[in-house]
Symmetry: C2
Subunit: 196 residues, 2 copies
C-alpha cells in the first residue's frame, strides 16, 4: 500500500473513470453540483485566487445556442448530456482577493494590478480548478466529458463577457451503456519523470 | 450521501488537505512518486495528449540552483522540502499522439501542426495534469506545496529546454508540525456557479 487513498476511491476517481460520450437518461441535480463544488472548492490555487466560474446550461434555449457553437464531433453528445457546464476563468478575480487571501490583502495590488498578469494567473489557476471539478464529478459517481472543441469567441460572447475567458465545456451525467473505445495508452513513468 | 466518494477520501484529498510550507524530516521515495504517477496518469486530457513532464530535483547541487531561482518567500521551504518537482508542459507532445491517441492518429497533423496551437493545448492540459498530480500527492498521504513564484525563464534555461515551458514548482513531503494560518475562505456556490 504505497498510497493512503483506498483502492475503491482510486478506481472511482482515476483507474476506472472514463470520459463519457453518451449518458444515461437521468438528470444531474443542483444538489449534486453543489456537493461537487463544496468538495473541490478546497483544491489549492495561488493566493487562493479561485478564478474558476461555471455556467450551467440548463434551459433548452441555452443548450441549443451552445450546441451550435460546438465542433461538429461534440454536438450530438452536448445535445444529449443530462447537464453541460461552461468552465471559465474570471480575469477580474483580484477583486475578491482581499476576502480570499486575508493574510496578505495587498496581493491584489502588488501582483495583479495588470490585466495581463491576471489573465495569465487566472488561466493557470482556473485550469487547476477545472481538473479538481472533473475529479469532483467523478467523486459524485458521475462521468465527465470535457471538451475544448468549440468556438471560444462565440461561447464568450453568448454566455460570458469580456472579463471571463472560456476554458472548456464539460458534459456531466451517469455514463451510458456503450464505451466508445478501449482506454488509450499512457506514457511510461520514465517518459514523463526524470531526476536531476 | 450526495457523493459516491467515501468521506475519508474526501477529507484526504480536499477537505483536510492543506498546502504545506514546512515538512517533516522524512524522504519521499521514487516508489511513492511512481505510485502517484501510476494513479494520476489516467486523468483525462484532450486527445489523451498528456503533455505534463516532471523533473525531480534530487541532488544537492540541483536543489541549490533551483532555490536561487525561487522568489524570496519560496526559498526556505524549497531548500528544506524532502522533494521538489518542476512541472512543465511539453510543447512537442504531438510527437507522441499517434501512440497516445490511436483512434485518430491524424490528430498530430490536423490539429497540432502549428507550434502556437501546441503551446496553447499543452499549457491547458499540462495544468489539468498538474492538478491531478497535486491530488495524487495527497492520495499518497503527503502534502503538496505548489508555487508559481519563481524565475520562469531561469528555470526553463537551467532545468528544461526550449520545448518545455515551466508551469509550477511543487514541494512534496509529510507536512511539518506547524500550520501557518487557518484555511482561507472560499467563494460561495452562488458566486461561482450560475445557470442559464
Amino acid at each position: 500500500m504505497t498510497l493512503a487513498l483506498d483502492s475503491a476511491a482510486q478506481d472511482l476517481l482515476f483507474r476506472e473513470a472514463r470520459t463519457a460520450n453518451t449518458f444515461a437518461d437521468e438528470p444531474v441535480t443542483d444538489e449534486q453540483v453543489q456537493a461537487i463544488y463544496d468538495l473541490v472548492k478546497f483544491g489549492p490555487t495561488a493566493f487562493n485566487q479561485s478564478p474558476l466560474r461555471v455556467v450551467l446550461v440548463r434551459s433548452d434555449e441555452a443548450r441549443e445556442r451552445l450546441v451550435g457553437l460546438m465542433a461538429e464531433g461534440n454536438q450530438a453528445k452536448t445535445a444529449s448530456a443530462p447537464l453541460t457546464a461552461i468552465l471559465a476563468a474570471d480575469n477580474e478575480f483580484h477583486e475578491e482577493l482581499p476576502t480570499l487571501f486575508p493574510h496578505f490583502p495587498q496581493a491584489k495590488d502588488v501582483f495583479f494590478a495588470e490585466r495581463q498578469a491576471r489573465e495569465q494567473a487566472a488561466g493557470l489557476n482556473a485550469a487547476l480548478q477545472a481538473a479538481y471539478f472533473i475529479v469532483g464529478i467523478r467523486a459524485a459517481g458521475l462521468a465527465a466529458g470535457p471538451m475544448t472543441g468549440f468556438d471560444f469567441a462565440g461561447v464568450q460572447k453568448e454566455f460570458l463577457d469580456d472579463d471571463h475567458t472560456p476554458l472548456m465545456v464539460v458534459n456531466i451525467g451517469k455514463p451510458g451503456e456503450d464505451t466508445p473505445f478501449p482506454r488509450s495508452p499512457r506514457l511510461a513513468y520514465e517518459e514523463v519523470i526524470t531526476a536531476v
